[in-house]
Symmetry: D2
Subunit: 149 residues, 4 copies
């Protein structure tokens, strides 16, 4: 798929790298990035769509069906990271999030990772695919329409 553009992100979340997220290479472990993606996604849904718990409360789950991370530079304990996120490609039961992760420094921000995740909406009981609810689709489209170009 296309590379992530540095423009057009509708939301961002900041985290500090936890010591527990580092490994014996002295840098953040590759699996931690998927957790940071999720933190940013949860914040996005809270801001624009009433929150992940609202989605779950309506009898549906959003399953993660694909994840991708490009690691562009090592990240260390206590680094301040900004995870920018946008949502798109809403088709039937599926939607996609794009991410850009930057390290915040005194003089600015440098990109350290990017990637995307793909999700499918399923019925919470049967885990069978179901259409994205109209209210959720509209909330996301509204959020993205207002995102900086």
């Amino acid at each position: 798929m296309a590379a992530v553009s540095e423009e057009g992100f509708s939301h961002s979340t900041e985290v500090a790298v936890r010591f527990a997220e580092t490994d014996a290479q002295g840098i953040a472990h590759n699996a931690a990035y998927l957790v940071w993606y999720e933190v940013a996604r949860v914040d996005y849904l809270a801001r624009f769509a009433g929150g992940y718990n609202r989605i779950r409360g309506q009898g549906i789950e959003a399953l993660t069906i694909e994840t991708h991370v490009r690691y562009l530079g090592a990240v260390h304990f206590d680094d301040r990271l900004r995870i920018s996120v946008r949502c798109g490609d809403l088709r039937g039961a599926r939607f996609r999030f794009d991410y850009l992760i930057e390290r915040l420094t005194e003089t600015g921000a440098e990109q350290v990772a990017d990637g995307w995740t793909l999700h499918a909406v399923v019925d919470r009981e049967t885990f069978r695919p179901t259409r994205l609810p109209a209210w959720l689709r509209e909330a996301i489209e509204l959020a993205e329409a207002g995102a900086p170009a």
Copy 2:
């Protein structure tokens, strides 16, 4: 509470330290030990009590209500560990596991941690305390009666 005796463990499980479980100190992170406790506990219940999923299938959950770890020596990536476990102190809704963690070397085993966890049986829907089912108590007592003294 009393220190863990090196005798009388009814079961043990082996794990290798995963790279993801290390941190930037170059050793296993302190939270990983609680996961290894759990791996050993799950194996114990599978061997003696029909498995954790059997317990969950009967409408009850075993919550962890207290954990304790003494770290006696640093543990590194790929170290082979033996987690010995025994269960006791079955009172009403509660039971306790004791643990001993050893590093396996070519010439033997050296103790690297010990500790214990306390658990309460609750109703799976309400999370309210409920008595330990008789079959589970009996399975554990039988297992421990046969443990090496």
Copy 3:
């Protein structure tokens, strides 16, 4: 050891429970609490002692040699938690942190966990115990002297 008093905490840190920190019981996993302890400890050291990286930069490591958690109530995804922390018992190479974890609600805060951790200062190369540096001891004593009684 004595129960943790609700008074006298010199510092607190807030976290939201991450989805990755929950487990199939629908609540936060017991190992996540040790990570939250660490997040609060790191914040404490940043605020009062120049930061954990300053300690590491001086050729010493603070190893975790004992951890204890009492889980007093289940914690769920997206719950807002306040981890209060204080440091004391500075003796030779050792020091201790006490913790109180509360869930923040619209009307106040309810205690959901407490506990403590014990740490030893070691030389970063040899991992042998070494005395707590005077500047670190003084920084902690100063911080605790100013804590609300």
Copy 4:
């Protein structure tokens, strides 16, 4: 990139899904798959290339620079998984692993995920790219030459 073929895997490793790896959806968390990849990769290197610690001992690190996972079916606590792995695309400082994750059942195995990771060899001190050592390249090529077609 091309989909992972089900043939030609030179190595496989088995894990059981840990309770700590599940989340409040009742299934394994998406980040756990990257840890299982790593467990299989470490086993591969131990079997064919003297082990990851041998690589690290020679002053180099293998950094993860890209990860990809396709989640094809939910995986639950205590499921037995087989992670098949092969290594290829050795160019300059880079190499790639492909993965296939299957759930083992009484009657066979069903595919639950696949994907790949990309790695770069760097100098352990400077983190600058360095060529894959000849012995490591040869060990991997030998391993893959002998893999079932």
